[in-house]
């Protein structure tokens, strides 16, 4: 069920981000469905391949899309587990995303362009630095709940009687900061990267997909939105209420996704991007926030 919601969110997510940015710069902006219309247009086109690139370059977009899509299947919805759910499933979740990224990176290297190589090296560095933050956060939540799969972790935070909800929700806020930034980093948005720039030298993600066109490009762009919706779903999961009416949680889900999109739009409107060599520090900061969560969990569980 959750996957359907994520797919619905992915239809309007980037549109909402763009609309927020437009309003903040005093413009009317394109329609909310414009990004998805662009992607549909791209999907109808064929792809052009450089003679210098190998089959890696051709399969990479499909691998990228499918890994993120499968990862989306892991995400639970309140008490209902995701389509795939087992113990320590979040490890596979993280590495599915990493696998998609890995294919993206080697396909960028495959083109042999010096720009794409540069973008690939940046992307790899940042996702490497971002990884501890994800694991410490999820691990701490796991420690708090005593479970080790997404659905169990999330449901026990809200539905078990143990622990006070205040602490659980305040940890949830910290965790959502981590997920928000992870979402920004994973999708290469401001302040880490600028999706609007046309200058190859400053790009991270965009420069890696310079050579992709048509169907492949559409697939990559759609995967980007899907990733956003995925992180939004994780955040929403932190805040579900223990209620018998599922409709309330559906509302919470969508309002958190919309809030997430608005936040991304706000960040992009009001912040400048960081200098490239400061990005690692910013990303490492996320790990320290997640350590804070870890500490909070330790205190709650009485381990320290």
């Amino acid at each position: 069920m959750n996957i359907i919601f994520i797919l619905i969110v992915s239809l309007f997510f980037t549109g909402l981000v763009n609309r927020t940015k437009s309003i903040f710069s005093g413009r009317k902006g394109p329609g909310i469905l414009q990004p998805i219309k662009d992607i549909v247009r791209l999907l109808k086109k064929g792809s052009v391949y450089s003679s210098a690139s190998s089959f890696i370059f051709q399969i990479a977009p499909a691998v990228y899309f499918s890994t993120v899509f499968i990862a989306a299947l892991f995400i639970p919805f309140g008490e209902n587990p995701g389509l795939i759910s087992f113990q320590f499933d979040f490890v596979l979740f993280a590495y599915l995303l990493a696998l998609g990224k890995f294919f993206n990176v080697i396909s960028a290297l495959d083109t042999g362009s010096s720009f794409e190589g540069m973008g690939a090296s940046r992307e790899v560095l940042y996702s490497m630095l971002a990884e501890p933050a994800f694991f410490i956060t999820i691990g701490s939540l796991g420690l708090l709940s005593g479970y080790s799969s997404f659905s169990r972790i999330f449901s026990s935070i809200h539905y078990s009687a143990s622990g006070s909800p205040v602490i659980a929700y305040s940890l949830g806020i910290l965790a959502s900061i981590v997920f928000l930034f992870l979402g920004l980093i994973e999708n290469s948005r401001v302040p880490v990267d600028d999706p609007k720039t046309h200058l190859e030298l400053t790009m991270i993600h965009e420069v890696m997909i310079l050579d992709n066109s048509g169907f492949d490009l559409g697939l990559i762009l759609y995967t980007g939105i899907l990733k956003f919706a995925l992180y939004g779903a994780l955040i929403a999961n932190l805040f579900f209420l223990n209620t018998a009416y599922i409709i309330i949680n559906v509302l919470i889900f969508f309002s958190f996704q919309i809030l997430f999109a608005l936040t991304v739009g706000l960040v992009e409107s009001l912040m400048a991007r960081f200098r490239m060599n400061q990005n690692p520090q910013v990303i490492l900061m996320l790990s320290s926030v997640s350590l804070l969560i870890f500490l909070g969990v330790m205190i709650i569980t009485g381990k320290i």
Partner: protein, 503 residues
């Protein structure tokens, strides 16, 4: 009495070309090097052209404290195997001029540091040297990598090739190759003999400095014809120059914000630029002020309605601009990107002969409006905006302060609109054997045009120098030891002209 080695003139003054004493090359070199020892002097133009079977070298050195320009000449033989000592070995600022001379006429220098071709014109001396076979500077190392950008710009503005040598993300060296837009402007000036054709040529030297180059041409032509521009012509040129400065500086601020992904600044500044250029549209029918500046005549009367409109535009512009610039300069995310990025030190700026905004950001006071004023600049004491850090932030600050200064200038000039003079029937001819130099401070910096006529009063040489001619080297120096991802913001903070360089 000793023979005079040089002749001194003022900005926009016409003299008999034959009165400039012709020196032996060695004496020419020594005299000019001696002049340039004084920091108040800088070379505004140094060029050569075939004259009476020989190559005539003309060096124009401006004294910024006395508003005088010293001219020296030398005749050398072309097509021989003579090797000359270079001026660049003594003063690096002249290197670009000597590179140009060597490319066009095949002059051989014994001690020039780097005879890299400037722009590969079709009529260059050595036809075998092509952009495609130019050996770029290379370093052999396992740890370094080379990144080539262009000649097609990612934002499709203008073509230029940038070759970086990087260590990881850090730039160690940048080599810039231009010339992809060479149109032979200087040659076209001689071939097109209608005045209208020439002034249109001047307007299209660099599209963003239409007023600057057209004013330089208009001033030179009027001086050649012995015509003293009246109050109205000066008024029009001064207003147009300052408006162009406001418009382009505002656009640059927008682009600088865009390069650090500061969306608010980017969109607000680009909105602010529009009414300013739209004023040109209302005045002369072209947003880039093409057609506005003409020698001797003014076709677009500055009416009191236009005055009212301009004042209204400025009144609306100023508060919005101040608010946005305050936001920008209080945004830590932006400041951290601007400060200490792309530094050009005072020493470097002086050494390479930087001009205009690039020089002023590094504490080097080079502003023609102060040092060699023409038009209405003689009437007010211009205080150039000088900054000292030479970084992106300094260049951004200069833009802010120059915009506010220009608005104040325009307001004071607008107090009195000179009467319109209908002078369509007059079309005087240029003097014979004349030499004129015209210096104009465009928004980017010092624009220098030089013209020489023959015994029939026809142009035999027209030399154009855009400020970018010197300043590209400043960019190459500024980006060293910066992250490669900071290159776009450095480049934008200089905003140099490709076509103004390529001619």
């Amino acid at each position: 009495m000793m023979m005079r080695k040089y002749i001194t003139i003022q900005n926009n003054e016409t003299i008999d070309f034959r009165t400039i004493p012709s020196l032996e090359y060695k004496e020419f070199l020594e005299t000019n090097i001696l002049f340039l020892k004084d920091v108040n002097n800088h070379c505004v133009n140094y060029f050569g052209f075939p004259y009476a079977g020989k190559l005539k070298l003309v060096c124009c050195i401006a004294n910024d404290s006395k508003a005088r320009i010293k001219l020296t000449c030398a005749d050398i033989n072309i097509g021989t195997n003579d090797v000359y000592p270079s001026l660049s070995a003594h003063n690096l600022a002249l290197n670009i001029f000597e590179r140009e001379l060597s490319e066009n006429f095949g002059i051989k220098y014994s001690d020039h540091p780097w005879l890299k071709p400037v722009r590969y014109p079709v009529d260059r001396f050595d036809k075998s040297s092509q952009i495609s076979n130019y050996p770029f500077y290379q370093i052999e190392s396992e740890e370094l990598h080379e990144v080539g950008v262009g000649p097609i710009h990612a934002g499709i503005i203008e073509p230029g090739h940038f070759r970086f040598i990087c260590k990881g993300e850090q730039i160690l060296h940048l080599e810039i190759q231009l010339g992809y837009q060479h149109r032979g402007i200087e040659k076209l000036f001689l071939e097109k003999n209608k005045l209208l054709q020439r002034v249109i040529l001047a307007e299209s030297i660099a599209g963003d400095t239409t007023v600057g180059h057209a004013s330089a041409f208009a001033n030179i032509w009027e001086s050649l014809c012995g015509f003293e521009p009246d109050e109205e012509l000066r008024f029009v040129r001064t207003i147009a120059l300052e408006l162009e400065r406001i418009a382009i500086h505002t656009g640059d601020l927008s682009a600088i914000c865009g390069d650090v992904a500061y969306q608010l600044g980017s969109s607000v500044f680009s909105r602010l630029r529009t009414p300013v250029i739209n004023f040109f549209q209302a005045w002369c029918g072209n947003r880039l002020a093409k057609g506005l500046i003409r020698p001797i005549v003014n076709n677009y009367i500055f009416t009191s309605e236009l005055r009212k409109l301009l004042l209204k535009i400025l009144d609306e512009y100023e508060p919005d601009f101040n608010e946005m610039i305050k936001k920008l300069f209080h945004n830590p995310g932006c400041l951290v990107r601007f400060e200490k990025t792309g530094v050009v030190s005072y020493g470097q700026a002086l050494k390479i002969g930087a001009v205009g905004m690039t020089a002023k950001a590094s504490g080097l006071n080079r502003d023609i409006r102060l040092s060699h004023p023409s038009d209405l600049y003689k009437n007010f004491v211009h205080q150039p905006v000088i900054k000292h850090h030479g970084d992106v932030f300094s260049r951004t600050q200069i833009r802010r302060e120059e915009i506010l200064q220009s608005i104040a200038y325009i307001r004071s000039i607008l107090e009195k609109i000179p009467p319109h003079q209908n002078r369509k029937e007059i079309s005087p001819k240029p003097r014979e054997n004349a030499f004129t130099i015209s210096l104009v401070e465009g928004w980017r910096g010092e624009i220098c045009h030089c013209a020489v006529t023959n015994e029939l009063g026809e142009l035999i040489n027209y030399k154009v120098k855009d400020p970018s001619f010197h300043n590209w080297l400043a960019l190459a120096l500024a980006v060293r030891r910066n992250g490669i991802s900071d290159f776009p913001i450095c480049n934008k903070s200089f905003n140099l002209s490709y076509c103004g360089f390529d001619l």
